[in-house]
Symmetry: C2
Subunit: 341 residues, 2 copies
Amino acid sequence: MKRTTIIDIAAALGVTPSTVSRALAGNPRVSELTRDKVREKALEMGYQPNVVAAALRRGKSDTVGMVVPRINRHFFSHVISAVEEVLNPAGFNLLICQSHEKAELEKLAVQVLLKNRVAGIILSHALETIDFSVFESAAREKVPVVQFDRVHTAVAGPRITNDNFSGAYLAVKHLIKSGYKRIAHLTGSLNINVYQERYRGYKYALEEAGLPIDIGVMENSITRETGYESTLSLLQQTRFDAVFCAGDFAAIGAMQALHDKGLSVPSAMGIVGFANEPFSDFITPRLSTVEQNAHDMGHLTAKALIRAINGKAPMEADWEEVVPVRLLVRDSSMRGETTAY
Amino acid sequence: MKRTTIIDIAAALGVTPSTVSRALAGNPRVSELTRDKVREKALEMGYQPNVVAAALRRGKSDTVGMVVPRINRHFFSHVISAVEEVLNPAGFNLLICQSHEKAELEKLAVQVLLKNRVAGIILSHALETIDFSVFESAAREKVPVVQFDRVHTAVAGPRITNDNFSGAYLAVKHLIKSGYKRIAHLTGSLNINVYQERYRGYKYALEEAGLPIDIGVMENSITRETGYESTLSLLQQTRFDAVFCAGDFAAIGAMQALHDKGLSVPSAMGIVGFANEPFSDFITPRLSTVEQNAHDMGHLTAKALIRAINGKAPMEADWEEVVPVRLLVRDSSMRGETTAY
DNA sequence: AGCAAAAATACAAACGTTTGCACAAAAAAC
DNA sequence: GTTTTTTGTGCAAACGTTTGTATTTTTGCT
């Protein structure tokens, strides 16, 4: 059975396709009477608009592309949901791609999105990405790009980031208040804005308190496995009584390494993570961590994109919006004797 | 700057757009010489095909739609990745939608996909879904649908499921072998094939061992919260020494409830979950669970869809493929005295 | 009733491909 | 050397919308 088109509706009603198109679009240039007739007929004939044809004609689709490193990270999946909450009511739908942390896949994804003539792109970079030339194509084709969380100034357009600096600062300050004095740090690649900022916050808190900042910082220690290994290395290299981890997975790894070495958390060692992964709340001891507001971030990102699509926001004027974070104090950083905090 | 089209390339080369189209498509009706020239020019001019126009002309896009309840479930996100692994090399790309377990959103998502003229749809139903009429539209428009995990026979097309029966059977049999005798069950809605099958496996194992099957079965207890509440209820209603949970989140809830009541796992109470969520391995005690093979499931699903798209598999012939699962025995179900297993 | 202005609709071109068919040139067959 | 076949291109229509402009119809005024 052929699909019904506006031409079929037009024929059935004795009007032209253009009238049908305008009627369905709610264009005030068609009378209320015919508009109602058209809508009724469309419903009756089970009409489903062909958005592909519309996209071709208009040169833009109602689809927004979103590229994230992985969809199964708590933070990213929540940002995605929040973005949907804004975009769907606005008539857009989301094409989600994963870069799997690979620069090449990220580039490919962006190209696919451009080929599909998406209305705009929302993106958080892969860890690897250092070449941003694809985004010039996007700019050339006037497809707005909004970056969130892992952002880079080499790409034009709005950037929505977490307040990583303050999060790290609060986390470390809390460790200090709890009585820990020699605080190490596990982080990701310091090429990424996110980890740079957390590192900055970490250092700032230590400096402010007059504590040593050269205890030990391990880069590329962001997974459970690398967190585990790096903690073992640290134990051999240096002396410390707490670890601030730039991610919860690393914190879990650190916890296990400490456990395996017979060091108890939080009495012998304090740990604070980052991201508030769902498991953080029901491991033993419960992990103190920094909660990112994925919901607000998604909303802000989506709204920024809509503004950019509607041309309200010149893409050249790329500004940065910072979303506040929140420290969640749980067991892993609470020394019995200093619970006073 | 205008985008380059095949018309531009044609003009630059003094040929017609049709030749360019055929050249780029690798059609044998154009000579090797012109094909190479066209390809070179396309590269030189930075040509990006307009897949929207192609989709309109062909009546089909290279996009496949995928609808899942939520993308942040370990199982679903891994199926998605596996589907991508098959689909991307085959030239398709994925449009991912979430139903958030709502029947209405699922229906909406399918409609959006149909409007976008996707080549096919991959879907796992929301818990709520009981009305399958949208899928008749899909069938009418000859858009193949492949269901996975949460499937329903009311929808035409291939179904790829986990071996939920065997998984549950193995889990409960293992509890029995470990010495537990009164085994309760937390499950989801028994309208869903997935939970029906797990329930069947649970009962079968108990019957086989001659153990009572009326200890206590709590429906709609699949989240951490409901798992917690249901376990407390069970403790009041009945006497039991183990719980088989149809999901890991419920198992976590159960564990916490038991912990709060001073019942230790696994010595006083055995617990086995289902799904092998990533946290299952690093909570205390480590949770025994049934691992689903998301990778194989994704591959099989994607391949089935590609077959259906290519018309190799008549949609009417809807068959079911079952993916084996694996029991992971960890601490939560191992009584000290019966570790012999 | 007559005319201008406003409102509603029709016409037709465009968006960038793909593809059946026609056609010319080259190659093969007789 | 003519006819047939093969091979490579061109032509033009189609896919289903949207939208600027032209045309018709209605409305409001005098």
